[in-house]
């Protein structure tokens, strides 16, 4: 993708990128099996990670926590919401909501709560109710999760502008809860090695460290680091 005019800020509004343009991933997994680094699997590097880090990161890949904080109904709505935010419309998916659920279940806050917001868990539950409310009332869908992707995206676009109203939304600062939930979603998504494969991030780097970070001789890429494909 050497042509930057395709980047979202630069192309006509509403003109979506086509991930199908991206090469299919060939080594290991990326979400939906496309990415910029088709032969890169960060999990090939685990021998170079320290033991404590390896345990923490592999646990994330191998042991998906079950949904225990949210009810089955909430989970259905919110899973569709997470998929919309992360544009995950087919397998393999990073199980974002499972990680969010675990965080809320364990009460792992981020260290603050806005004075005009409920606690994080309540805020998430209200978002589940609010998305159903808006989908059914305003968009005349059977449910948020059951609505077509384009409808879900329309609803989320209004959410992102802080403009969803009525029902459960009246108990929330809508812009702030969008920020809160998308932050949690990205914490889950971009801590997952599959996402690192997609974006070409080096992952854990202790004890090996880096030598190739911009010198004239070594360049910017270690020998083990991925080569970027130009679709």
């Amino acid at each position: 993708m050497q042509d930057p005019s395709r980047l979202p800020n630069l192309r006509p509004k509403g003109d979506n990128a086509d991930p199908e343009d991206l090469p299919r991933h060939r080594n290991g997994i990326t979400p939906q099996m496309h990415g910029r680094f088709p032969d890169y699997n960060v999990l090939d590097e685990t021998d170079h990670w320290d033991e404590v880090t390896r345990e923490v990161v592999l646990d994330r890949v191998e042991n998906t926590p079950g949904i225990r904080f949210f009810t089955a109904e909430e989970a259905a709505t919110l899973k569709a919401y997470c998929d919309t935010i992360t544009h995950q419309h087919r397998e393999p998916r990073i199980p974002v909501l499972s990680f969010v659920d675990e965080k809320l279940l364990k009460g792992q806050g981020d260290g603050y709560q806005y004075a005009d917001m409920p606690d994080d868990g309540t805020a998430w539950r209200l978002v589940a109710q609010g998305l159903e409310y808006s989908a059914q009332r305003e968009w005349r869908a059977s449910s948020f999760a059951g609505a077509p992707i384009s409808t879900r995206e329309d609803i989320v676009a209004v959410f992102a502008d802080g403009k969803l109203q009525g029902g459960p939304w009246e108990q929330l600062n809508v812009s702030r809860v969008f920020k809160l939930t998308t932050k949690h979603i990205c914490q889950a998504f971009y801590s997952h090695p599959w996402a690192w494969n997609e974006i070409g991030f080096g992952g854990p780097a202790y004890p090996r460290g880096y030598a190739a970070f911009g010198s004239d001789h070594l360049g910017d890429r270690e020998q083990w680091e991925p080569i970027q494909a130009t679709p």
Binding site: T53, D110, Y112, Q113, I199, F201, Y210
Partner: protein, 580 residues
Amino acid sequence: MSFMHKGSFAMPKDNDSPFLLDRHKRGLQNLDRMARYPKNAPVDLLIVGAGAGGLVLAQRLARAGWKVCVLEKGPFWDPDRDWVSDEKGSSHLYWTDKRIIGGDDPVEMGKNNSGQGVGGSMTHFAGYVPRFHPSDFEVRTRDGVGADWPISYWDLKPYFERVELELPVAGQDWPWGDPHSYPHAPHPVAGAANRAWKGAREYGIEMRVGPVAITNGVFGNRPHCIYRGFCLEGCKVNAKASPLITHLPDGIEHGVEVRADSMAVRIEVDAAGDRVAGVTYMHDGREEFQPADAVAVCGYAIESPRLLLNSTSARWPNGLANDNDLVGRYVMVQGATQVAARFPLELRMYKAPPPEISSEDFYETDESRGFARGFSIQTISPMPIEWAAHVLADGHWGAALREYMRDYNHWSVLGVLCELLPAPDNRVTLADERDQYGMPIARFDYTQGANDKANIAYAKKILQEIWEGAGAQDQLTIDRYAHLVGGCRMGFTAEDSVVDASHRTWGVENLYVVDGSVLPTQGAANPALVIMALADRCAELLKAKRSARASRSARGARRRAGAARWIARTHAGLSRGRGR
């Protein structure tokens, strides 16, 4: 380069910490020799908070023969065992207990500005350690805004120099403020920062490498940096400084005891209320009390005010040392907008320490800009989760979010630190909700003033222009804050401040505040170095005071022991009462 000759091998004279560490193990090696003070006799100094201020103070006074005990809410870290080379897996380093945030421009807490555990926030600070400028100490006089400090740059200068040698600081000769040089040579600059440097140069801005508290050469048993880029996740290498490794090892050797997992909930006063007798704290779900001849609060800008406000008594109904309703006021943050820029070649900004090069060209007031004070510019390289926050902040989600994320390796990020001015209503108060220790949680309200907004807007524009000039193909902007200071500010009289120039609280003879909360203004520099320098200076003053007093006072000692017995009895009564 010119500073190599100064020798990367200069070592501090009165701090053996780098030699007390092990070359191959990161945890402290002398814990089995750590003092254990009895809880029924006063220690000379009881410190609350094992961070930048607290541990420098502890090490200095222990060297002078004081019995020093430190209470720390968080764990006693062993980087080998407790820290990971992973962004999400590092959240236990942050103070993530809830705080309520309000005001018109609320400041999000946690990861970005508050640490916990032995070493404090510096265990996961980025590592920039610039000095304040001489002008920072006389903002009111020069610019008619903010406040003057009761001390000058020149009072602190020897302490800046001493701490720089101890961290040690690596960087180029520094042309701004009071020009100076650094003990370690500058680190090599990575591709992403190089791109930023080129842009700045073309724009006519001068940048320099550093200053960072990261070893660049042999330093006792601390290894060289391996450029792995996880400084904000805690350095598993012991290359980046935090007081856990730069001051505590020597402190332990001289009698510092650190009680980890110990949350101070109340400072107790004696019968008359003009002296403190010790601190009540929670450990393992139990309430404990440690008597002390003096107490230093070093819990940082939110927790120090919170602890004082929660320490009420008949003499101090509004909180300790709070006769004039100043505790918790004038808390400051810096405007820390970041602008990312896209380039055709891969830059892979996750490599090398995030702090690399900086400019203080805009630090001082320039009337033509239309606001008082200024900002500095620094490179900072977010890891993927932070990069996602950046992309979200620019308004992208769904396919666009994924797309900018996939483009991660092409971006370089510049940030600013804008000096925002102190305001009385930017303050910490106690909320109704209580935490796991039964203590009311803090509420922090923050609203920007007109000068603050103008500064941030101007600085953002400069960053965007730098990148335009550098030929960036696209830009993403995130408005954010960094750092915290103030809340127990230092000043000239009891009517304008919480502590005097020696860090002693107005009205309580033996209570000190020695941390970031005492700063009257915050400059456009990162705060850790000035906090450590202040603690070092405070220690000198305390040492001098004590040797002057040593000749007096078998009488005083008896009085103190009496007070401690009194408070121990009262305290026992209190906890029994509460238990029922």
